[in-house]
Symmetry: C2
Subunit: 206 residues, 2 copies
């Protein structure tokens, strides 16, 4: 026998349920999955939304490329395989947070449809809300903003496989929400998300 | 240039702080790290503690071998390298939960001192509470209980590298709390943990 694989494990229900935690927090844990080009405004809207939710007494938490890449995924690079594993792990972490009752704001380029759909399927299989928010911004506009100077480096060939330049971005076909950041104010974007959360019963109406 | 590694990333402070979430939840996020032999009673006390905390209005969430091994760590086996990566990822997930304000109950054998100390160091570096709880139980007693029948399989050679049988368990030298489960009732164990949490300011005193 070579190696013991994780075969002896099973779900451990315990005595506290997800519903108990939702009741405690007066909200329903859910994953909001922001996807879009670098510079499209994903983090900006996630930051503002997190603040708006906390101010309303709701527990929200952001997962983003910056904090995840320095922590759980610091042993991953940007190869195709590592990008896929990056999104897989984030999806699993998000699920744990939803189980804990938290509203997770996940903010990653996540350019590949298959990877996002896998995370959606994981949530669906566990009867958890997965809300895909397409933060849409024309490439020219995102490149003009270039808040981290990454497009410049990609155009100069200093970064390879950069989404939108020499790696594809596969736009969502049926996102739960479309935010055109070149046309909306930040306040309008936040309001649109909160309205959707209320409609879906994630937040109790005020 | 071969592969872009995670070098362009930095911590994204956003506008909501850990302190804001702690204030919202009226508690201080913290990791309780239960360690001990298979069958020592780690999960039993974690399940009971989670229930006691939720009943008191505190947000607690368990990470355990069962749910983590089926999710984020389902691509890991039980080789030395994979066991180390298993604990590393769990430590990083725990940190994210602490950042979110949650009291994390982590319940894994986690037999190696170095792996546990690495998780402790990660928490310390972020000024986060890491509370190691040694769930101590004599091997003979744990083997007698054998709730999952794993010791029997290990003795029969059907499972290799089983902690306590043909792989070492390195007991904590200075755990924040020692629970001798062969000598205490479950209620006494839960009370001891809650008292410690109150003393450390994780829970506001009732």
């Amino acid at each position: 026998m070579a190696e013991q694989k994780a075969t002896n494990v099973h779900w451990h229900d315990g005595e506290v349920t997800r519903a108990d935690r939702n009741t405690l927090l007066k909200q329903k844990g859910a994953t909001l999955w922001f996807t879009g080009l670098s510079g499209s405004g994903k983090s900006t809207v996630a930051v503002a939304l997190e603040k708006a939710l906390i101010q309303r007494g709701h527990l929200a938490f952001r997962l983003d490329g910056d904090n995840v890449r320095l922590g759980i995924n610091k042993n991953l690079g940007f190869s195709a395989e590592d990008r896929q594993e990056n999104i897989r792990r984030i999806g699993e972490v998000a699920k744990l947070f939803v189980d804990a009752g938290v509203i997770v704001l996940s903010s990653f380029i996540s350019p590949y449809r298959l990877d996002r759909d896998n995370v959606r399927a994981l949530h669906n299989a566990a009867d958890m809300d997965f809300i895909e928010v397409y933060v849409e911004c024309p490439l020219e506009e995102a490149e003009k903003r270039d808040p981290k100077g990454l497009y410049k480096k990609a155009r100069a060939g200093e970064i390879k496989n950069f989404t939108g330049i020499d790696d594809p971005y596969e736009a969502p076909e049926n996102p739960e929400l479309l935010l055109k950041t070149a046309e909306l104010t930040l306040e309008q974007e936040v309001d649109a998300v909160i309205k959707l959360l209320e409609q879906r019963g994630i937040l109790a109406a005020a």
